[in-house]
């Protein structure tokens, strides 16, 4: 194959294009297989942003803007934290169906605890601890009693809903000055229509994301989490001496803690607690994780991909709102998109075998 560039400019143009394609193909082939799903997510994100930009940008205001990004994060910071915890669990090949119920429970608990006169930091800490305890219960059921993760987390989901019901069947307003101040606090940037902000929830969510990233990619525990999802039920991890039992329980504790934090963030967002909150929220979290490129069967995935998945989720909501559809259409769309990704994953796995 001659690599000489011809002098003719037309031919040269063609050859340039061809060599670019060739180089791109070589780069893609060399790219690690694991990144392919996330690539899909990023592409989806770009496509959606493109559609939005086309349809909704006006002369004065672009659709794609810092305001959009900021709003996405403000509205979905609780979901990001939920999805991060869920990522840990799904990476080990498990699942946590209790997170939505935990969010509801934490919201109601916060409302109640404030009426008991406890100070803000204590209330927030207790709220998170509620999530941690639920996670610990699931972890024990799964690891010690060998109960399947979806059954164990389903049972704890019912437990959390039951407890939420006991606290109150009506919506409870969260009445505390410190809490409201925290909810209202934000750093504002830009001006007028371009105004965008960073609030406490966003910072918390991004911090959790960073910590999760470091844990999963730079600690032995994090790599063991991946190892557990290798498909042999943790046999290899066990024989490598990496403590599968402890890791598995911790993974559910992490998911529960994230659910607790998400409960706090959601309470900050809605400033109330309601026992019917969060129905279907676990599906949103799972959707974000799966759309973000993590395989439901475990072992493959990136928490940064989950971040992208949350952005996709948020964009779906924004686009639906812009189109003037009812909000419950989001649920249907998310369901369809999740289904699409699950089927795709399934097809790819079968193909590989």
């Amino acid at each position: 194959m001659s690599t000489e560039l011809s002098a003719d400019p037309d031919v040269r143009g063609d050859e340039d294009a061809r060599s670019v394609v060739r180089r791109a193909r070589r780069a893609l082939r060399g790219l690690d297989r694991r990144f392919l799903p996330v690539l899909g997510t990023v592409l989806t994100l770009l496509v959606m942003l493109g559609i939005g930009q086309q349809r909704y940008s006006t002369e004065r205001v672009d659709f794609v803007s810092m305001k959009l990004l900021s709003n996405l994060l403000v509205d979905n910071s609780y979901l990001l934290v939920l999805a991060i915890g869920m990522t840990f669990v799904i990476l080990t090949g498990g699942i946590d169906l209790s997170v939505g119920a935990v969010v509801a429970l934490v919201g109601l608990a916060i409302a109640e605890l404030f009426t008991l006169g406890l100070p803000l930091p204590v209330v927030l800490a207790l709220g998170v601890l509620i999530g941690t305890s639920c996670g610990l219960l699931i972890g024990v059921m799964v690891q010690v009693f060998d109960i399947q993760p979806f059954i164990a987390s389903l049972a704890v989901m019912f437990l959390a809903r039951g407890l939420a019901n006991v606290i109150s069947v009506n919506s409870l307003k969260i009445d505390d000055e410190g809490f409201s101040a925290l909810a209202a606090w934000s750093l504002k940037f830009g001006e007028g229509r371009q105004l965008w902000r960073i609030n406490a929830s966003m910072l918390v969510a991004l911090a959790v994301l960073l910590i999760a990233f470091l844990i999963l990619h730079y600690t032995r525990f994090g790599r063991s989490v991946y190892g557990l999802g290798a498909g042999d039920g943790g046999a290899a991890v066990n024989l490598m001496g990496l403590r599968p039992a402890r890791t598995r329980v911790w993974v559910y504790v992490i998911s529960g803690t994230c659910a607790g934090i998400a409960g706090v963030l959601f309470a900050l967002y809605t400033k109330s607690g309601f026992n019917l909150t969060g129905i279907g929220m676990e599906l949103d979290a799972i959707a974000a994780v799966v759309i973000g490129g993590t395989l439901l069967s475990g072992g493959v995935g990136f928490v940064l991909g989950t971040g992208a998945g949350v952005l996709v989720y948020g964009l779906i909501q924004v686009l639906i709102a812009r189109e003037g559809l009812e909000s419950w259409w989001t649920r249907v769309f998310i369901g369809v998109v999740l289904l699409g990704f699950v089927i795709l994953q399934r097809v790819l796995v079968v193909r590989r075998r």
């Binding site: 059921m141 059954i151 019912f158 039951g162």
Partner: protein, 371 residues
């Protein structure tokens, strides 16, 4: 040379026979649920005088026990389908949503019909509702059996998206219709027995005959215990699994009709909420394990009664009714943990070390290892 494996030998005759019968009875999966049911009924009877009275009034049965029976109908219908699905090693989290969709479709049809009280129209409405339930089940079955997607994810998607569909059908309103024939599905009486009970028992009999009088039951259990072995033995695992999800969908829709008929209102958001929990509880209380395999239809009857008695007991003993889900959840967790093999091993004081892959017997094989 004969293996020393302990095996099930027939019980010896003689004085130990009584002890053996006692052991068989107490070890039967239904023993504790029946005991619990009887105990609960007695406790309720003591705490609330007249609880156990059944009289005949206006030509039909009347009494708290009768109410209990009527309330058991919906959970029984849901649990029937759920039990078959669980037997194959799956789960159906969408039953509550399908209840809502089925009811929504039926009532919306009646609402748009010229004469909602016409029996023919009602029959069509009912069939439509059941048909939609079958569709939902078919979707679930296609995902699980056809594409090999994990059951909890596939049915959860329908569970969440299904509510959206129900909202779509009812346009976000709570559809109410007046139609006496339809209403009797939920609040009428057949030969003095509440209609829901009759419907539920009829469904139970049909399912029981289909499952135990044919090879369906054995195939379901085989699929749930070892899917690949069943496939290799020629069992049509995919087709059978798909069928079972369709059955569950139809039964869920029927449950929705029975449940919503008395009020004649379709609240797409709330009907069937948390009903999955009820269905799973009835199955588990009836002795069927949640990871599939052997299932017990008879136990569903006990389980459904136990569930409604539990709900009633909460009221009689003056717990706030909102604590009912909590009790149910605690019972579910307790049953899951109790059924865990690890717990049994722990109680017997076995070691933690995993011995599941131990050889069955010391093997003395002859192999000409030639040079």
């Amino acid at each position: 040379m004969t293996p020393t494996q302990p095996s099930t030998t027939p019980a010896p005759a003689g004085p130990s026979r009584g002890a053996d019968i006692w052991r068989e009875v107490t070890h039967h999966g239904l023993f504790w649920p029946v005991v619990a049911l009887v105990a609960l009924l007695l406790a309720c009877g003591i705490a609330s005088p007249g609880f156990l009275d059944v009289t005949v009034r206006d030509g039909h049965l009347f009494g708290q026990l009768v109410d209990l029976l009527r309330n058991s109908a919906t959970p029984l219908l849901l649990a029937l389908g759920m039990c078959l699905v669980i037997a194959t090693g799956g789960i159906d989290l969408s039953v509550g949503a399908v209840m809502a969709i089925g009811l929504a479709v039926s009532l919306t049809y009646l609402d748009t019909a010229p004469d909602p009280s016409n029996v023919g129209t009602v029959v069509t409405a009912v069939l439509l509702g059941l048909g939609v339930g079958a569709l939902g089940g078919a979707f679930n079955g296609a995902m699980v059996a056809g594409l090999g997607i994990q059951p909890f994810i596939a049915t959860m998607i329908l569970m969440v998206a299904g509510r959206g569909i129900a909202m779509l059908i009812t346009q976000g309103q709570i559809t109410t219709v007046t139609s006496p024939p339809f209403k009797t599905i939920g609040s009428g009486f057949v030969l003095g027995i509440p209609t829901p009970v009759v419907i539920a028992v009829a469904a139970f009999v049909v399912v029981a005959v289909a499952v135990r009088r044919t090879a369906l039951g054995m195939f379901l259990e085989a699929i749930g215990i070892n899917r690949e072995a069943s496939r290799l033995a020629g069992v049509r695992s995919r087709r059978t699994t798909w069928t079972v999800y369709v059955i569950a969908g139809v039964l869920a829709a029927l449950a929705g009709l029975v449940y919503g008929a008395p009020t004649m209102a379709a609240d797409a958001n709330n009907i069937g909420l948390m009903k999955e929990l009820d269905a799973i509880m009835v199955v588990v209380l009836g002795g069927t394990k949640l990871d599939g395999g052997r299932f017990y239809l008879g136990g569903l009857l006990v389980g459904a009664m136990l569930l409604s008695t539990l709900e009633r007991a909460v009221i009689i003993f003056q717990f706030p009714s909102q604590t009912t889900p909590l009790f149910k959840a605690l019972v579910l967790i307790a049953v899951c943990v109790a059924a865990s093999p690890t717990l049994r091993a722990m109680l017997r004081g076995r070691r933690r070390a995993d011995r599941s892959d131990a050889p069955a017997a010391p093997v003395e094989t002859v192999s000409e290892v030639t040079a």
